[in-house]
Symmetry: D2
Subunit: 348 residues, 4 copies
């Protein structure tokens, strides 16, 4: 790795593509293949997902997480409907309005939480409030859960199930934003089945790009009825690749030999290494538990400025009122190595 990446903790999407994915691209790069997802690689991908998830699944590869989430939501809510999510959810804060675009203007209703993990009680209260709004409200039709969350935490399986249970009891479909699902599974030590359909998830967006791929995410439906006509939404969104074998091949490489899990495990370990370092550092304060590959830490302004001057890249976050210092976010990836972390800790 070059120095540039060794000092770059801005995001997990600044990393290059892993060798296995590059190899897969080369593997499929010969001869002709039927266009628009009618190729053999895409067919094999669906089988591979079904095996990995131990369940029937209807799998649609696309190339960005924004597209995956927004397309998935458009299959769950009508244009006049609403989606409930944590107020920190990526879909409501960071997609540039894509969910509203793909759903044709459905509302995203964010509810507050301490660390990105919604409480079942708050979900229930939001559903009741929405119902009381009657014809003047936008009816809730889906719940979107982010796992791991935007604050680097992970729902336990019981917590996840409590949350989806409330939603399903009230007729809401359940979407799981799994841009960092690997990090959640690595943390929980559960199976892919446990964290998805066994926990009440109807549709999953399985992230590959942040975990070693070039541009590959899978929308995975566990209910066939929701997947009907989904390919038309993909085409209409300009997300149906003519040469789709090259998207499917990336995802297949990640699924093969649980490469996705190996990558996520490495990223999580590097995040823990950061956490342990900060915990030994007097001036630092970690406002959230670190379960996945995102570390949020409050440091004194001079320390933060010093790291920046030393060439480190990361984001300054909006520091909550009353907190002394600067809240920053550090993200590790499959490509982060122990010496990268140690270098940063030494630079503190």
């Amino acid at each position: 790795m070059t120095e540039a990446i060794r000092k770059n903790f801005a995001s997990d999407n600044i990393a290059p593509v892993c060798p296995e994915v590059m190899h897969a691209l080369n593997r499929v790069n010969h001869g002709s293949a039927a266009a628009y997802g009618q190729d053999e690689e895409t067919a094999a991908l669906e089988e591979q997902f079904r095996a990995a998830f131990e369940h029937d699944a209807w799998v649609f590869p696309v190339t960005t997480g924004t597209a995956a989430n927004s397309l998935a939501l458009s299959a769950l809510v009508p244009p006049y409907g609403a989606v409930l999510c944590d107020q920190s959810a990526h879909i409501t804060t960071d997609e540039g309005g894509a969910p509203e675009f793909f759903t044709h203007g459905a509302k995203l209703i964010g509810i507050p939480s301490n660390d990105g993990r919604m409480n079942p009680e708050d979900i229930l209260a939001a559903i009741h409030l929405n119902r009381e709004g009657g014809i003047q409200s936008s009816p809730l039709r889906a719940l979107s859960v982010t796992q791991a969350t935007e604050w680097g935490t992970v729902y336990t399986l019981p917590h996840l199930r409590a949350v989806t249970h409330v939603a399903r009891e009230h007729g809401l479909a359940v979407h799981l934003d799994g841009a960092r699902l690997g990090n959640a599974v690595a943390h929980l030590g559960c199976s892919l089945a446990d964290i998805t359909w066994r926990s009440g998830v109807d549709v999953l967006c399985f992230g590959g790009t942040k975990n070693g791929a070039m541009g590959a995410e899978a929308v995975v439906f566990f209910r066939k009825d929701l997947a009907e006509d989904f390919i038309r939404r993909i085409k209409r969104g300009g997300h149906l690749w003519s040469k789709q074998r090259y998207v499917s091949a990336q995802l297949r490489a990640l699924l093969t030999n649980d490469l996705w899990l190996k990558h996520a495990t490495q990223a999580n370990a590097m995040a823990q290494r950061l956490v342990h370092g900060f915990q030994r550092h007097a001036g630092s304060n970690l406002p959230f538990e670190t379960h996945g590959n995102e570390v949020f830490v409050v440091l004194p302004e001079p320390v933060v400025a010093g790291l920046e001057q030393a060439g480190y890249h990361f984001y300054r976050w909006a520091t909550p009122p009353g907190v002394k210092g600067v809240l920053i976010r550090l993200v590790t990836s499959y490509a982060t190595e122990a010496e990268d972390v140690d270098g940063l800790l030494a630079a503190l």
Copy 2:
């Protein structure tokens, strides 16, 4: 090349990725890079386009032609507006409603032509008819021209200029669908500047995917005002890659040493080789001139069926009423070789 591709004339998008593009993907695959198009590769791409087009240009790489065309149109017309195009245009027949999606419901108004090339007189008449409609019509705000056309023909430069002149005189912006622009340039022997801004084009969609790339198209604005906020439309459509270096690198490979032109020239030559073969074949009838890489030919049903049984892939097209035989479309690509064509002609 394997036999599969040698017998596949279904489309130019069934071909694999060319070695130069694969090389470019490997070239940029090291270290970290700023996400969402802030990388150096994307910056270099814009410079390279400006040099190639001899004009200021604002360049936005996306990964599908559907996205490129639909996003470009959304920058030209308001949701209550309309786009004029040839009735055979891909945007109105084959995008699964994507232009309507991205423009939020603007109308596509198709006008008839003999071979995919609109006449200036018909454009003028359509504009007048639209004006007369007043408040009950959807006002025309853009003209979309396909070059090369869906019927494999190419507008001459004077024809192209006559067409765009009418549009601009009446306040319509001009969009060029260049999914096969290379084939048009190879046919005309002109410069990229000649066929675009010197011919009255405001925004070009420059196709890479059909010409050797994996998934790479460039939306090229020649007017800065139209490009304002365009990046937001891309993001909102889920088309902003976090790892955009991998899209930009593909397009750079095609621009370098005019690889796009070399590819298109080969495809065109193979199309001509097909044409010459058909012209020597008694039962065949070519309804259109072949300028680019698409050959339309009417053959007797038994001949068509024979080719299919021999393993050849191509599309049966809607045969016009009154025509005896079956209209088929054969498409060549950069990967088509002389012996592939000769094999098909021999199989006739």
Copy 3:
């Protein structure tokens, strides 16, 4: 009637409100009423429609025909779908893009006909062509029939049933644009049931505004499943009146004692009086049969100009190529009287 209206044949919407409707507005204008359609007048309206149509019906009053048609279509097709209609249909030529707006960009596919009445064979061919388009097409999900048509003709009941039969056999829902349904019924002498659900219609837009109301149209569903959530679409379109009693009252006045039919009968009679006059006039040519209240006639330019100079109002229509003279449209309404028609005929 003043002279202004006596010489105004521009449309049936230039007429004032009939006394019965004004009376109904006054009738309901006392005391409080629950808002947003929860009032007693609206409840009574639904009952009155059910009786008039001899069928269960879910009735939603709105105030414009554009809204009625566009909202109805949005309940029948998904945003990525398509609606089949005659190429002269008001929804595709004269709604300023409203159907595209309310359906979120569904396509309107117009098919040609001689006089605004589609043939079953052409519908079947269009359905087949659409199916062949596969993923690149916008799938047809509804057929929209205009009765009476834009050319003043009326489908016979067997013709209407043949048309809806093809649609339903292929899974398309059937919408009837009845902006001038009264004129069609008056011509056919059938019942409201005959011309709607007994003829395969799923949803009707029943026009009141052109037939004596101030601003009142009813969207009438004959299938409960299609009506679900429809009130939310109305609210979201800004078409749910808080004081809805005043819309419902208008429609109730028209239904009471078949006032709608009396009005339409008068309008039709006046149209026939015009036709008979033109038939006696040497230089005139009637390109279509006149079944309802719209008369299309080709007259020599000096005659048309003379009528205009004499203060008559009507529209010059796009005269078909090869036709000598000027095609004009004359529309009669409930308020047109015999002496108005005779005055125009004398002015010829």
Copy 4:
């Protein structure tokens, strides 16, 4: 007035139409009139608004407040943009998603306030936060202010100007939701010019329906550039009445002799009468100042239930946590009389 209305404090839209408006409907109900707003009544309306507002104005009558607000916002923000408003604003809580529909999915960003009146500092902070979001946010392009607010308070002119000043300095257009503008003017004792363009308002929605009309609101632009093509948006939304004289006439009746102000003054006075009554009542608690015609009061549950049993209509509102009793909303209108209020107070 009947007993029903005397006991109905649910909203100001449950009232009947005032005699002057009914008279105006009859006044214009003769002869023909050009359709779609080309009539003389609509032309006169624009002149009347310009005189009343002492400024050039481009005026578009529509029939619901939902339509007026949503259409106005669609002229201010692109589909990928955002609107800032108070979190209690009607546009974000009670329009059934209409603003999202008409803007094609723009975001509404609500900010908290104590009583429905935003602080300039909070607006500034929201603008900064939005800017920092960069490409992943939806850019703020408009500020929407509700006057009088949803909590029955009214911005003072200096407060209003401070709020619009921040917006305009940062390039946001300013929309005023004036569904109850009359009540605000009656409270402030200012001119229509003072409360709109002299206070930095670009477009006003002037409410008539809640103030005596049947269904009539005016979208009033003080900037011509924003009004361009607005009529196309109205048509496309199905809100362009063919018989528009009947909408314009309602608004003209309200403007004539300042009937709107007389009505609002009466409603406000009745609200004050309620307030004074509650202030004398031991168990009641008024959480907000009452400036307009909406009174919010916390009463013990048995008292509220008693009023309901006595036949009174009003809404139970979401009672804030920690508050003992039940928060209810009582709305007065032009039709509320002193004895109605006294009756309710006596029933306490």
